[in-house]
């Protein structure tokens, strides 16, 4: 084959390995759109790049990861998709129970690093006052399958999320929950929403989630909430943080 001859040729390997800086990567991709030689070279070498992750020893992911994912996916699935339960205002109790039944709070060095954040708790309280929205309340209960679930309204900081709404679906057992948000802003590039559980004024990280183009999203929360004071949401860098970077944009007060 003919060798590509331009200033971007040397970048092909670095591009495939993810080793270009973001600006260089954008420039290279723009170049690719108009350079057939480089496109062919990238496609030719992709077989090597794609093989690299296969060299990694396989480590089983925790079961709770699948449970959390499926709880979110089923909650977001369109009503007419195959084998999906009819749409309901809250998560189907049976599925909710399945999603959280065997979940346990994470206990890891990563999580244990989290320290008490009294300033964060104070900021959360300030937000509640500032936005002047009524505290969340138990607004409904859904029966079925012997495991009632309640929907708790959330307080959203309207100064940062003017159209935001959120609610938390909590089973009677409080073995977990599903958080639903609407009208939230897209986190800036490289950021996600992170859920936090507040106990005794301290917060611990829980799930990560993002929202669709309409600002709607759902997060499965595998943590036990029996003694929790609140469920909070902040915007954090991709991969999540060990402690909140900002006052919560969503606050769901819970009564123990």
């Amino acid at each position: 084959m003919s060798e590509p001859r331009d200033q971007f040729t040397d970048d092909i390997g670095a591009y495939l390995l993810g080793a270009l800086d973001p600006g260089e990567e954008r420039a290279f991709e723009q170049h690719l759109e108009g350079c057939e030689d480089c496109r062919q070279e990238v496609m030719r070498l992709e077989v090597a790049r794609d093989a690299l992750p296969r060299a990694v020893d396989q480590v089983a992911p925790p079961e709770r990861l699948k449970q959390s994912l499926m709880a979110t996916v089923r909650a977001e699935a369109p009503a007419d998709s195959a084998d999906v339960a009819p749409a309901e205002p809250v998560a189907p109790p049976g599925r909710l129970r399945d999603a959280v039944a065997s979940s346990r709070p994470r206990r890891s060095r990563w999580r244990e690093l989290l320290l008490a954040r009294p300033a964060f708790a104070a900021a959360a309280a300030a937000v509640l006052l500032a936005v002047g929205i009524a505290l969340g309340a138990l607004v409904g209960a859904v029966g079925g399958d012997g495991d009632d679930a309640s929907t708790v309204a959330a307080t959203v900081d309207v100064t940062r999320m003017p159209a935001g709404k959120a609610s938390l679906v909590v089973p009677e057992s409080k073995d977990g929950a599903i958080l639903r948000v609407e009208g939230m802003q897209q986190p800036q590039a490289g950021h996600v929403y992170e859920v936090w559980i507040q106990h005794d004024g301290k917060v611990t990280p829980s799930s990560l989630f993002s929202v669709d183009s309409d600002g709607n999203g759902t997060a499965g929360i595998p943590d036990e909430l029996r003694d929790a004071e609140a469920v909070l949401v902040t915007r954090e860098p991709t991969g999540g943080s060990t402690r909140p970077s900002e006052p919560p944009v969503v606050t769901v007060p819970l009564s123990s």
Binding site: D10, D11, I12, G13, A14, L16, L17, G18, A19, L20, R44, L45, E46, V47, A48, R49, D50, A51, L52, P53, R54, A55, V56, D57, Q58, V59, A60, P61, P62, L65, K66, S68, L69, M70, T72, V73, R74, E76, A77, P78, S81, A82, D83, V84, R106, S108, W110, R111, G190, V192, S207, L208, F209, S210, D212, P237, T238, G239, G240, S241
Partner: protein
């Protein structure tokens, strides 16, 4: 279509169902590739909880932007792992930059955890596949293998690698491309011979 039926479909056919918002299709894709995705993230970050969060975020992004899968550009597995790789690099560059400065190539190798118990024939097959790829990697000269590892598994940019190794950037970029070229030949000997 029931899950049992979906499980008999090829990845690309499952993706058609997933594109229509079928959660069972999503579950099948996760069952097939979630382990590889988690393993790659764990290999790169060395922390199970961070790897779990990255994998969760990556799969949710696939669910929510599933129309982006282009079957003309490769396998579903490569697509999934590409997304995970990108997100892991983002996390590495953003959150643990200071720790990463201490990482050496040896350190990267040590991040690998002994595999957990084998459960299925699929896992056995993947271990064989892993051995084949590692053998291909071992055909690379040491300086090429080093930059490939630092870039792909360490998440370092070519500039960072050049600084670490006290080598010109052009040399590092050249080694990356030559390393991939040599790996391609080792993995596709018939094609390389033509």
């Amino acid at each position: 279509m029931r899950t049992a039926d979906i499980q008999r479909l090829a990845d690309e056919e499952v993706m058609v169902l997933l594109r229509d918002g079928n959660p069972d299709a999503f579950e099948v894709i996760y069952d097939r590739h979630g382990g590889a995705a988690f393993s790659l993230a764990y290999r790169m970050v060395g922390d199970r909880n961070v790897a779990e969060d990255i994998t969760q975020e990556a799969f949710l992004s696939m669910w929510r932007s599933r129309v982006r899968f282009d079957r003309e550009r490769g396998s579903v597995r490569a697509w999934v792992l590409g997304i995970v790789h990108h997100r892991t690099i983002d996390a590495l560059r953003r959150n643990v930059a200071h720790d990463r400065r201490r990482v050496t190539v040896e350190g990267l190798e040590e991040r690998q955890e002994a595999p957990e118990r084998e459960r299925t024939e699929v896992e056995v097959a993947r271990r064989d596949e892993a051995r084949e790829v590692r053998e291909a990697m071992q055909t690379l000269p040491g300086e090429q293998l080093e930059v490939v590892r630092l870039a792909y598994f360490g998440g370092f940019t070519h500039t960072e690698i050049a600084e670490m190794l006290s080598q010109p950037i052009g040399t590092v970029k050249g080694r990356m491309r030559l390393g991939l070229e040599k790996m391609r030949r080792a993995l596709t000997p018939e094609e390389a011979a033509t």
